[in-house]
């Protein structure tokens, strides 16, 4: 276990559950996270994004359509439940009691845990062409990634605040690029020395190596990174993604001129930013630098 994780737990900032990467959040941790969420809302108020909040689920139909399983089958969290005759109930309980596998007695439901906060948004935009100038949407959701880890910055469920631009290729690209600098300043103002880097998603398998190389060579993904608790390198606390026509084509989203919409999104890893603040300023927010406190609590 990393020293930072031990310290976070002993201070009550994170509450262990017995499964790596799944924690309760203590009051002080949660307060910092919510203050950071408000900080984003204040700074982005003039953008006038349309706020949407979804439960941390996507429909299985839209999840299958999204192509997520082509890229990240190892991270997916489909919801399963018991849907058998009452006669089988006793068998289920016997198996649980005996410590035997019981997954094969369940069946898939119509929902999957949200893999990224923007996923529920795209299907809702397919009904009519976008207005001229496209859309800007603001989402926040718990997201699930099946990747148990003892790195406190790699949680299985975490919150992601995202802004999503749905417009032309040029508009999405320019919007994504200006956000890298903009968000970099916001984080630096909180004492986080975030640096930008070209990045790739953790695609599955050998094909995934190629997808990752393609993504990097086209500079589709950037991250802002800071050192938190991973010995192998800094941790991404934000990502800036340009999806080209992927979601537009997949869900049938069209621009005002009838062309397929392009999309881009900018995501804040809310727990990761919070962890970064504790890492850089110490575990007691009362003792954080005045400038940082003013920006979050002022």
């Amino acid at each position: 276990m990393s020293t930072l994780l031990q310290d976070l737990i002993s201070k009550g900032l994170l509450i262990p559950t017995g499964v790596d990467g799944v924690y309760g959040r203590g009051g002080v941790f949660e307060d910092v996270l919510l203050r950071f969420d408000s900080y984003i809302s204040r700074l982005a108020a003039n953008d006038k994004a349309d706020v949407m909040r979804f439960p941390p689920l996507v429909t299985r139909e839209n999840f299958e359509k999204s192509g997520y399983l082509k890229s990240f089958p190892h991270l997916a969290g489909p919801v399963f439940s018991f849907n058998r005759p009452p006669a089988d109930h006793a068998t289920l309980l016997e198996r649980v009691q005996a410590g035997q596998p019981w997954g094969d007695m369940l069946e898939m439901t119509d929902t999957v845990l949200t893999p990224a906060a923007c996923y529920p948004v795209y299907p809702t935009l397919a009904h009519a062409p976008l207005a001229k100038g496209g859309r800007l949407v603001d989402v926040l959701s718990y997201c699930f990634r099946h990747e148990p880890s003892i790195d406190p910055a790699r949680m299985q469920m975490f919150r992601m605040r995202e802004f999503i631009r749905i417009a032309s290729a040029e508009e999405c690209h320019a919007w994504r690029d200006q956000w890298i600098e903009r968000a970099g300043h916001w984080l630096q103002d909180l004492g986080l020395p975030a640096e930008s880097a070209v990045a790739n998603d953790p695609f599955f398998g050998r094909g995934g190596k190629m997808l990752a190389a393609n993504q990097r060579s086209q500079e589709l993904k950037f991250e802002l990174v800071v050192p938190i608790a991973n010995a192998e390198g800094p941790t991404a606390i934000m990502s800036f993604n340009y999806h080209q026509e992927h979601f537009g084509k997949t869900f049938g989203i069209t621009q005002a001129n009838g062309e397929v919409a392009h999309t881009a999104c900018v995501g804040f890893g809310m727990e990761r930013v919070t962890l970064g603040l504790f890492k850089f300023h110490g575990l007691d927010p009362d003792k954080w630098p005045a400038g940082v406190r003013d920006r979050l609590w002022g």
């Binding site: 082509k70 094909g207 190596k209 190629m210 190389a213 393609n214 993504q215 060579s217």
Partner: protein
């Protein structure tokens, strides 16, 4: 070899134009091949030519054109 590559492109490349008549240096991504389609092309080439592309070849430029794919396969098969 070119014909085999073209047949695989036709099956897996999701191209907007005819794989059988494309110029050998035509940019396949421009012709409509998506990243996921290029992965399927890569896997089909491995099966057809009994090769395994090393990590250094799993990148965009290698699968960008028929010519580049042929060069990569020739390098791996040593002209066998």
């Amino acid at each position: 070899m070119d014909n085999q590559i073209r047949t695989i492109l036709k099956q897996h490349g999701k191209l907007g134009s005819d794989a059988m008549s494309l110029a050998e240096d035509a940019d396949l991504y421009q012709a409509g091949m998506t990243s996921h389609a290029s992965v399927n092309v890569m896997l089909a080439l491995e099966g057809a030519f009994d090769v395994e592309f090393p990590d250094r070849m799993l990148k965009r430029s290698v699968f960008e054109s028929i010519r580049n794919m042929r060069a990569a396969i020739e390098e791996l098969t040593g002209g066998r």
